[in-house]
C-alpha cells in the first residue's frame, strides 16, 4: 500500500528514474528522464519523456516447456546486476544522476517479483535513493500513452498473464472487461506448447508467423460475455484438434468454395490462423463494446500480445469503422520492460509518492484499479 501521499509537488528541474521489471520471464531495466512542465500560459508544448536506456533479457525455455517461478527468479538474479550496469552505461549517467529507483510491486509471479524487488531495495540503500513501487499494468498503460500520444483511450491490455479492457475515470484505471479464466497470451503460449513450437523469441510471435501462412478457417467456440471473454474452452477444443492432427488423424476443412471437395487437410498453420482470428475477434469486440459504453474514439493496445500485427490490424479496422483511431507500440515498449516501470514510477514520484522499505514487499495480486492515479486530473 502507498506509504506517503504528499501534496503534488511540481518538479522544477528534470528528473530521472531507474526502473526494474521482472514480474514474468522478462527482466527489464530502463532509465527515463522527465522534464518540468512548461510554465502555464506560455503556449509551449510539453516536452516528451526521454528514454535513456531500455534493456531486456528474456528467460527462454525449450519448446514444449513453460517457465517455472523458481528458475525464472534465478534467471533474474543472475542477470540483474549486469543489466543495471549496462543501462547506466548506455545512458551515460552515474548513480548520482538518478532521483528514484522504481520496481514492479505486482501483479506477477511471486518469486521473480521478489528477486527483482530485492535488487531494487539493495540499489536504493546503496545509492541512497527513494524507492517507488509500481503496478505493472499501470506501467504498461502510462508508457503506451506517453509513446503514442493517446490522451484518454480505451486500453486493451493483453499479455501472458492479463487480458483487460480498461478506461480511465476519476483518478483510476477502471477495468471494464477481462478474461474470466486464462489470459490471451497464456492461451497462445499453451497452444504453442501443444504444437511444440519454439519459445524463442516468444511462443506468441512464432504462432503469428505460422498464422500468416494459414488459409482455412476452422470454426472454434466463440465466448464473449458482455465485456468479458473466456479462453479456456477454446484452448481445450483446439488443443484436441491439434493433438489429433499430430497423432496422424487428419482433419478436413469444410470449405464450400475452396474447391477441395472436403479433402483439404487442416494444417497447424490453419489452426494458428483460426485461433488468432477467433480470439482476436473476441478482443476487438469487447474493446468496441467498451468504446461504445464510455463513448471513446481512441484505442490503445498494450502488453506483449499487443505487438501482434494481425491484432493491431483488426483493431485499426474496427476503430476506423467507428471513426476512431488505434494506438499501438512496438516490441520495445509492448513487451514487458523496465522503462515503463521507470516512467510510471516517476509520474507517481512527481506527485510526492514514495514507497518505504517496509512497504516494498511485492504482491502477486495487485489490480489495476487499486492504484490512485494522482498525476491525472482529467
Amino acid at each position: 500500500m502507498p506509504s506517503k501521499q504528499e501534496p503534488a509537488t511540481c518538479q522544477q528541474r528534470p528528473t530521472v528514474a531507474l526502473g526494474l521489471e521482472g514480474s514474468a520471464n522478462k527482466l527489464g531495466v530502463g532509465i527515463i528522464r522527465h522534464f518540468p512542465p512548461p510554465p502555464a500560459g506560455s503556449g509551449q508544448r510539453r516536452r516528451p519523456a526521454e528514454v535513456l536506456a531500455n534493456i531486456r533479457h528474456t528467460y527462454i525455455t525449450p519448446p514444449g516447456e513453460g517457465f517455472l517461478p523458481r528458475d525464472t527468479a534465478n534467471h533474474h538474479r543472475s542477470f540483474v546486476v549486469k543489466l543495471v550496469k549496462d543501462a547506466l552505461k548506455t545512458s551515460g549517467l552515474t548513480p548520482h544522476d538518478i532521483d528514484c529507483v522504481c520496481f514492479t510491486k505486482g501483479p506477477g509471479m511471486g518469486a521473480p517479483l521478489q528477486s527483482v524487488a530485492i535488487a531494487a531495495r539493495t540499489i536504493s540503500l546503496m545509492w541512497n535513493k527513494p524507492l517507488v513501487g509500481v503496478n505493472h499494468c499501470v506501467g504498461h498503460i502510462e508508457m503506451g500513452r506517453e509513446i503514442t500520444g493517446a490522451t484518454n483511450p480505451v486500453v486493451l491490455y493483453v499479455s501472458g498473464g492479463n487480458t483487460q479492457v480498461i478506461a480511465y475515470s476519476h483518478h483510476r484505471y477502471r477495468i471494464f472487461g477481462e478474461t474470466l479464466d486464462i489470459a490471451v497470451g497464456n492461451c497462445l503460449d499453451r497452444f504453442a506448447r501443444t504444437l511444440q513450437i519454439p519459445n524463442d523469441p516468444s511462443p506468441g510471435y512464432n504462432i503469428e508467423l505460422l498464422a500468416r501462412k494459414g488459409k482455412h478457417y476452422v470454426e472454434l467456440p466463440y465466448t464473449v460475455k458482455g465485456m468479458d471473454v473466456s479462453m479456456s474452452g477454446i484452448l481445450a477444443y483446439i488443443d484436441q484438434v491439434a493433438i489429433d492432427i499430430l497423432n496422424g488423424n487428419p482433419r478436413y476443412a469444410d470449405d464450400e468454395d475452396g474447391g477441395g471437395g472436403g479433402k483439404t487437410i487442416i494444417t497447424k498453420e490453419d489452426l494458428c490462423f483460426s485461433l488468432q482470428e477467433t480470439i482476436f475477434a473476441m478482443l476487438v469486440e469487447i474493446t468496441e463494446r467498451a468504446m461504445a459504453h464510455v463513448g471513446s474514439q481512441q484505442v490503445l493496445i498494450v502488453g506483449g500480445v499487443g505487438c501482434n500485427e494481425r491484432l493491431q490490424e483488426m483493431m485499426a479496422i474496427m476503430a476506423r469503422d467507428r471513426g476512431g483511431q488505434v494506438y499501438a507500440t512496438d516490441e520495445r515498449f509492448c513487451i514487458d520492460n523496465g522503462i515503463m516501470i521507470a516512467h510510471a514510477g516517476l509520474l507517481a514520484y512527481g506527485t510526492g509518492f514514495k514507497t518505504s522499505l517496509e512497504d516494498s514487499v511485492c504482491t502477486q495480486r495487485f489490480r489495476t484499479d487499486e492504484v490512485y492515479i494522482a498525476w491525472r486530473d482529467d
Binding site: 514474468a24 505486482g106 506477477g108 492479463n162 477481462e178 474470466l180 497464456n186 460475455k225 465485456m227 459504453h293
Partner: protein, 316 residues
C-alpha cells in the same frame, strides 16, 4: 425468400406523420453515422429512418412507421405501440473473418429475436419483437421511449452533486435511497424474472436497461400506494443471451452487471449493486422454497465468481 423481405412487400407508402413530432421530441437526437457502415439501401429508401444510436455491435434506427402494417390498420388497435419502432442493424464487421462474421451476425440476430419473443410472451419487460432477418442482421422491434439506466443515473448524480453544497451528505444519501433505490430494486427484480425463466442476458450493463417514461398507464409500476411511482425498467440487447439452467451462468450475469456498476458508476457502486441484488433476491424468492434454494445457490456462485475475479490478476 427471407421473412423480412416477405414482410417487406406489405410496406405501405402513404403513411401519415401525424405523431412524428410528439415522439421525436422525447427521443435523443439523431447521431451521425460513424465510419462507413450503412443500412441496405432497399430499407433506407423505403422508410424514413433516423439513426439514433450506435452501439458496439449494432446501429439503432428509429421509425415512426411500422415496417409493414399500414398506419390506417393500426390506429385504434392496441397493438400499436405509441412510441414508434426500432430497427436494429448489425452491419458486417470488416475486422473479422467473413465466415466468422456471417455466422455471428446470423446467430446473434436470430437468437436475440427468439429470446425477445419468448420473454415478451412470458410477460418480462422487453421490447416487443416485430420482424427479423437473420442473414442481413436486421431486427424490428417496438421503440422504448425513455433514457438508459446509465444516463439516468448519471443525470441524477449530476443533479445531486450540484445541490450537494446546500443539502449535505446525509440528505444526498437519503435522496439516493428515495430516488435511485426503487428503480434499482425494480431492475433487480426484472433480472430475477429473466433468470427464473432460465435465460441469461450475457451483457448486463446500465446501457442495456432502458427506463420507460411512465407516460402510459401500463408503463407504471406502483409498488405501494404511498410510495412514489417507479420508472419501468426494460431490458434490451439480447444478442449475447442464452438459455441456461446453470446457477454459475446466472452468477456470471450478475457479476458482469456488478462490474459495469463499478466501472461506470464508481462513486456509489457498492450501494447500487446492493440494491440491485436486493431486488433480485426478492424478485426470485417471494417465499417459495425451491426459488429460495435456487437464488441462494446463485448467490453462492456469485461469491465464487468474484473471488476468481480477484485471483485472476496473479501473473503480470
Amino acid at each position: 425468400m427471407t421473412l423480412f423481405r416477405k414482410l417487406w412487400s406489405f410496406a405501405y407508402p402513404g403513411f401519415s406523420f401525424s405523431h412524428f413530432h410528439r415522439v421525436m421530441a422525447t427521443r435523443t437526437l439523431s447521431v451521425m453515422p460513424l465510419g462507413n457502415v450503412t443500412l441496405p439501401s432497399a430499407i433506407s429508401e423505403a422508410l424514413a429512418l433516423t439513426l439514433i444510436a450506435q452501439g458496439a455491435e449494432a446501429q439503432i434506427y428509429f421509425s415512426v412507421e411500422h415496417p409493414f402494417i399500414p398506419a390506417t390498420y393500426l390506429t385504434g388497435t392496441n397493438s400499436q405501440p405509441s412510441a414508434g419502432y426500432i430497427l436494429k442493424y448489425r452491419p458486417p464487421k470488416r475486422y473479422r473473418h467473413n465466415a466468422l462474421d456471417a455466422q455471428l451476425t446470423k446467430h446473434r440476430t436470430l437468437s436475440e429475436a427468439r429470446i425477445l419473443y419468448k420473454l415478451f410472451l412470458a410477460g418480462i419487460s422487453v421490447p416487443q419483437l416485430i420482424a427479423v432477418d437473420p442473414r442481413q442482421g436486421l431486427i424490428w422491434m417496438e421503440n422504448i421511449d425513455g433514457q438508459s439506466l446509465k444516463s439516468w443515473i448519471w443525470a441524477q448524480e449530476t443533479e445531486m452533486e450540484e445541490r450537494q453544497v446546500d443539502e449535505g451528505e446525509d440528505a444526498q444519501a437519503q435522496k439516493r435511497v428515495h430516488i435511485i433505490k426503487p428503480v434499482l430494486l425494480a431492475v433487480g427484480s426484472e433480472i430475477a424474472k429473466l433468470h427464473f425463466l432460465e435465460t441469461v442476458h450475457g451483457d448486463l450493463t446500465t446501457s442495456n436497461v432502458l427506463l420507460r417514461d411512465s407516460s402510459r398507464v401500463e408503463a407504471i409500476t406502483v409498488t405501494f400506494s404511498d410510495k412514489p411511482m417507479v420508472k419501468d425498467p426494460v431490458i434490451i440487447d439480447f444478442g449475447l443471451a442464452q438459455q441456461s439452467t446453470l446457477p454459475e451462468d446466472k452468477a456470471v450475469d450478475l457479476y458482469v452487471l456488478e462490474r459495469a456498476f463499478i466501472s461506470t458508476h464508481p462513486i456509489h457502486s457498492e450501494e447500487y449493486v446492493e440494491w440491485v441484488l436486493e431486488g433480485y433476491v426478492a424478485g426470485f424468492g417471494r417465499g417459495k422454497k425451491t426459488a429460495m434454494f435456487k437464488v441462494n445457490e446463485i448467490m453462492r456462485k456469485l461469491d465464487a465468481v468474484r473471488l476468481r475475479g480477484r485471483k485472476r490478476s496473479m501473473v503480470g
